[in-house]
Symmetry: C2
Subunit: 131 residues, 2 copies
Amino acid sequence: MSETRKRSTRQREAVSRALEGAGGFRSAQDLFDSLRDDGAKISLTTVYRTLQYLADEGSVDVLRSHDGEAIYRRCSSSEHHHHLVCRECGAAVEIESDEVEDWAKRVATRHGFTSVDHLAEIYGVCQKCAG
Amino acid sequence: MSETRKRSTRQREAVSRALEGAGGFRSAQDLFDSLRDDGAKISLTTVYRTLQYLADEGSVDVLRSHDGEAIYRRCSSSEHHHHLVCRECGAAVEIESDEVEDWAKRVATRHGFTSVDHLAEIYGVCQKCAG
DNA sequence: TTAAGTGCAAATCGTTTGCAGTTCG
DNA sequence: CGAACTGCAAACGATTTGCACTTAA
């Protein structure tokens, strides 16, 4: 299933490094721009392809921003994390929750599902925006 | 901000009705297909526009499916249900969980967020497909 | 050498928009 | 009538793909 990526290249390294430096979630375009700013010779296509590889491998998480862009971030193993997002300003707080982890696994197992994965996001209006 | 939609039309009614009937989250395409099946004369463009109007009004929630499609559902205040979806065949089991409800509310409150809403979906492979 | 990796340009796909015709009020 | 609303086709922006060229091993 993760039988892609066989060689190590300048570009691939660069993308990984850019992801490291980014910390949070970044779009392919963002990463591409950063890479270019850092003087990397790489195409947007390759950024996309590399990100895809990494995602298949499970090295990066892929989320969707509210306007449909895919955003990526290097993944600390297969650990899940969720977000508390402000509907107004877009500010996001990262949260963890074994509670939800357990729930997802439990429910899935009960229904005979395997290879379980889940998505959980909380939306609301932050203090600042609530006025 | 919600200064669109002034008139009542056959198409707009149809979209609202389709959303009612749908219950869960549906993509514009899905809704369009349902509408056509029900014999409605409407264009995909209008479905999109209507959905946009309703979203601006706050009558529907807009989310993004994992593959970037926008999915909509009529917004019944803050009532929630979740889904356990098979990645292979798409089969979905509807699930409820006060557990998750509580968690979302608790976390949000802790961070000073209001008008809380959330999304939680579990993905996996069902027994049939795991074969 | 040679398969994996890359870049460019063209192709996709969901969604939006320009514009001319239609309809509600 | 006149402003909303519609539909179609063209435009869009993010992502993918076909193909010829590079490059790591």
